[in-house]
């Protein structure tokens, strides 16, 4: 059945989780971080994964990004079963098709804002000239013009998250996975980061899947998937 779902040509989904479970073993205790969960994310969506701490949000995002491997079930990204790929292939997918934003400490400390944003482009082998135009365009878009040469420790938390977002989208990925991107900043900064993500979603059609447990943040999403104990509690699309 999962194969049939994956091959259904009508659906424009970018991410598909089919009966996915993740069980962590700590000695004799089993923790079901994700429990038989199925989920699809459509291209161009702006989707929030909500739920209290420990509900399995991070685990879901990590499995979508190939950072974690499900105990049962399948994860498809752009219709490719991640389990069928090698470590190197998954790394290449992360490099080319996924943008990651974490809660904090996203940036490589020894590199400037510019170099951080440029890093993945360089990994992709993009030419220096093109790197420059693309990075400058993105830095402008995220409002960091003038801060190109700052190192992470010379920037505020909000500025750092902007660099992280810039780095996530500069490669024009299929999807940006953001794990509690606003958890470490004040609410005004959180608002402006959400404004930015929303703008990138609307203007450039980038799919966003972000996790949060902040009510104000989840209200900005088009679709809200609520989780509890590793399961989906509710899944609604807002007007």
């Amino acid at each position: 059945m999962s194969q049939a779902l994956a091959n259904d040509p009508k659906r424009e989904d970018i991410v598909r989780l089919v009966d996915v479970s993740k069980i962590y073993r700590q000695g004799k205790i089993e923790v079901r971080a994700v429990d038989n969960l199925s989920l699809e994310i459509d291209t161009g969506d702006f989707c929030a994964l909500c739920g209290p701490s420990g509900s399995g949000k991070t685990t879901v995002l990590n499995m979508i990004g190939g950072l974690d491997i499900p105990t049962h079930g399948q994860v498809f990204l752009e219709r490719r079963d991640l389990a069928s790929l090698s470590r190197g292939e998954v790394a290449a997918i992360r490099r080319d098709r996924i943008g990651f934003v974490f809660q904090a400490y996203n940036l490589i400390p020894v590199m400037t804002a510019y170099e951080n944003a440029e890093f993945v482009l360089k990994l992709q082998g993009v030419s220096a000239v093109e790197c420059h135009t693309r990075v400058m365009t993105i830095l402008k878009e995220v409002g960091l013009v003038g801060l190109e040469h700052r190192r992470p420790d010379e920037m505020s938390g909000g500025q750092q998250q902007r660099v992280a977002i810039a780095r996530a989208i500069v490669t024009r990925p299929a999807i940006v996975l953001a794990d509690e991107p606003t958890a470490n900043v004040d609410s005004a900064t959180a608002d402006s980061l959400l404004d930015l993500m929303q703008k990138l979603n609307r203007q450039d059609g980038i799919t966003f899947l972000f996790s949060t447990h902040d009510k104000r943040v989840m209200d900005r999403a088009r679709r809200i998937v609520r989780m509890r104990d590793g399961r989906i509690e509710s899944d609604e699309v807002q007007g």
Binding site: T58, N62, G65, L67, D68, R87, G88, A91, A92, R94, R95, D96, I98, G99, F100, F102, Q103, A104, Y105, N106, L107, I108, P109, V110, M111, F119, V120, K122, L123, R167, A168, D179
Partner: protein
């Protein structure tokens, strides 16, 4: 590419730790240079001193002489041969010598010992320990002169002074016992008891005459090379060129097997010592790199998450070890150079500590001034060994970095 740049900056994130590790690598270079340099200088000294008492770095001698030395064994046409050898590549001097055993006697006493007959025009203080060690009187000026130079200890035993007569007895070419008289013209003190108490230096012609040799016959030709370390390769070259079945060409390792053995053993213990130092340094680098990797698991997790492949992460950390090693080598060169310069120019003089006592190993006098000698090849060997070691000890930490499962490292907030 960019990785080298990131690696370089990463190395300097913990400035103090990097400098400490760099200095420990540099210290390794210093120790290796000192141990190797002193040993090479000392061996060189001993080899040269030993070569200067008889056989040279390379010896041309009658076949079977080294196994059973005897005065009836001799080379002929030594003048032509010597003339030819002196012009060979890498040869500094070639000296025809006659060596043998003799009894030395005066009216009061008889002492057994060795004699060495030389052509003073071909010899020099540099290549003849006995000439170099002259303390009283003078050495005869040419091979046709008369006179004898003996060890001071021998003179004391025989109650001899300069100008007095010495009777020496040996066997000639026919095995007959022959005796002759020579007047003592000089005394030497080498510091080696066996030499000072039982050796005599004669002009060549006088001994040829006594033994019944022709004017162009001698026991051997001692060849001194510009670089003693090329003794074996030069010997092989000579063997190719001078294939006379009556002549045997040997290197000092063959004519002085005791010394060669001693050097081999000493060098081996030196290597063991250096290996232990190397292990300590490697453990230090490994520890530093591993620490720096383990404290950055989160950072590596992020790098893996945004698409760096584990393979590239491995090479990033290897590049850090590379820079670390390079910093260590630069520090090593900077701290070793003044040491080397000092040891080369002034040396470390132990003569005041040793007093008048001289120090010998395998009957070879040791210079009380300790110096260092390193050839380019040793410098290259030391630097590349230390460099290779530093890189080698970076492999495990680099492998660990690539192994960090991204999830574990990202979970930590």
């Amino acid at each position: 590419m960019q990785m080298w740049n990131i690696a370089w900056r990463n190395v300097w994130r913990r400035r103090r730790r990097t400098l400490i590790t760099g200095f420990s690598i540099g210290f390794g270079v210093l120790l290796a240079a000192i141990f190797t340099g002193m040993a090479i200088y000392m061996y060189g000294n001993m080899i040269n001193a030993s070569a200067a008492t008889g056989f040279g770095h390379v010896t041309f001698e009658p076949i079977g002489y080294s196994k059973a030395p005897a005065l009836d064994k001799r080379l002929s046409r030594v003048d032509t041969l010597r003339e030819q050898i002196v012009h060979e590549n890498g040869v500094d001097a070639a000296m025809e010598r006659i060596m043998g055993q003799a009894m030395f006697a005066t009216a009061s006493k008889t002492v057994g010992g060795m004699f060495l007959a030389i052509n003073p025009q071909h010899e020099s203080a540099e290549y003849n320990l006995l000439i170099r060690s002259l303390v009283e009187g003078k050495v005869f000026s040419d091979k046709n002169a008369g006179g004898v130079v003996i060890g001071k200890r021998l003179a004391e035993k025989l109650n001899l002074r300069i100008g007095k007569k010495l009777v020496y007895t040996t066997t000639d070419v026919n095995g007959e016992i022959v005796s002759e008289i020579a007047r003592v013209s000089g005394l030497f003190v080498t510091g080696v008891d066996e030499i000072d108490g039982g050796m005599a230096l004669f002009p060549l012609r006088q001994i040829q005459h006594v033994l019944g040799y022709h004017a162009d016959e001698a026991t051997l030709i001692a060849v001194m090379l510009r670089q003693q370390r090329h003794a074996e390769s030069s010997r092989d070259v000579f063997r190719q060129k001078y294939h006379d079945p009556s002549i045997e060409i040997l290197s000092w390792q063959q004519t002085q097997p005791d010394l060669a053995g001693m050097i081999t053993i000493d060098a081996a213990s030196n290597y063991v010592m250096q290996f232990l130092i190397a292990l300590l340094i490697a453990a230090g680098i490994l520890n530093t790199m591993l620490m720096s990797v383990l404290e950055r698991t989160r950072e590596f997790g992020v790098m893996l998450a945004i698409g760096l492949s584990p393979k590239r992460l491995f090479w990033l950390v290897m590049a850090e070890s590379y820079w670390m090693a390079l910093i260590g080598l630069v520090i090593g060169i900077v701290i070793t150079s003044p040491f080397y310069w000092y040891f080369d120019v002034y040396g470390l003089d132990f003569s005041s500590l040793l007093g008048d006592e001289s120090y010998t190993v395998s009957n070879v006098l040791i210079d009380p001034v300790i110096r260092m000698k390193l050839h380019v090849i040793h410098v290259i060997a030391i630097l590349s060994a230390v460099f290779g070691l530093a890189l080698l000890s970076g492999i495990y930490p680099a492998w660990r970095a690539g192994r960090v499962p991204p999830v574990e490292s990202l979970r930590t907030i």
